[in-house]
């Protein structure tokens, strides 16, 4: 087993989404099915 000298950071595992984000569960499911929505980079000047 590995030694842990530094204090343990809280793992991101089981960090549930905030209540407000739960309302957008449909959107999360969409993201899960494919890629993350709204992340395609918008290139300025390109239409």
């Amino acid at each position: 087993s590995r030694s842990r000298s530094k204090s343990k950071r809280i793992s991101g595992f089981d960090m549930a989404p905030p209540a407000s984000a739960m309302l957008a569960a449909g959107a999360a499911a969409a993201a899960a099915a494919g890629q993350i929505p709204g992340t395609s980079p918008t290139l300025p000047g390109v239409f």
């Binding site: 793992s11 595992f13 089981d14 960090m15 989404p17 980079p41």
Partner: protein
């Protein structure tokens, strides 16, 4: 690629889709608020993510390899591939990770046909 790859019913390798989110995923080197991010911070963020994953996945079996796609392109963005020594360990991890969250996002886990990352190209 945009092809639909068949998901094997059993494999030593798991795919965790879109799990890693770079802090500068919208614009390279810049955070969501438009402030520049120190490259060391990005590296640190990545290492913490890797450590979280390694620690969690080690509970389910011996890890052969752990690959995190640290890319910014649309394709495979943030995908995590974890190969266990044994198929049953991968199956155990899949059962235990399904339906859970990481940093407020659902974990999407499936078996992956990839067993050799040097040969991992679309066929």
């Amino acid at each position: 690629c945009s092809r639909l790859h068949t998901k094997p019913s059993i494999s030593p390798t798991l795919l965790l889709s879109n799990m890693y989110q770079r802090p500068d995923m919208i614009t390279p080197g810049v955070d969501a608020q438009g402030n520049p991010i120190d490259p060391r911070k990005i590296q640190e963020h990545f290492e913490e993510f890797y450590e979280d994953l390694f620690e969690e996945l080690s509970k389910y079996g011996e890890i052969e390899s752990l690959n995190i796609c640290d890319n910014l392109a649309d394709h495979m963005v943030g995908n995590v591939y974890v190969q266990f020594r044994e198929e049953e360990h991968a199956a155990n991890a899949l059962r235990n990770l399904s339906g859970r969250y990481y940093s407020g996002r659902p974990i999407i886990v499936d078996f992956s046909p990839v067993t050799d990352f040097r040969e991992a190209t679309c066929r």
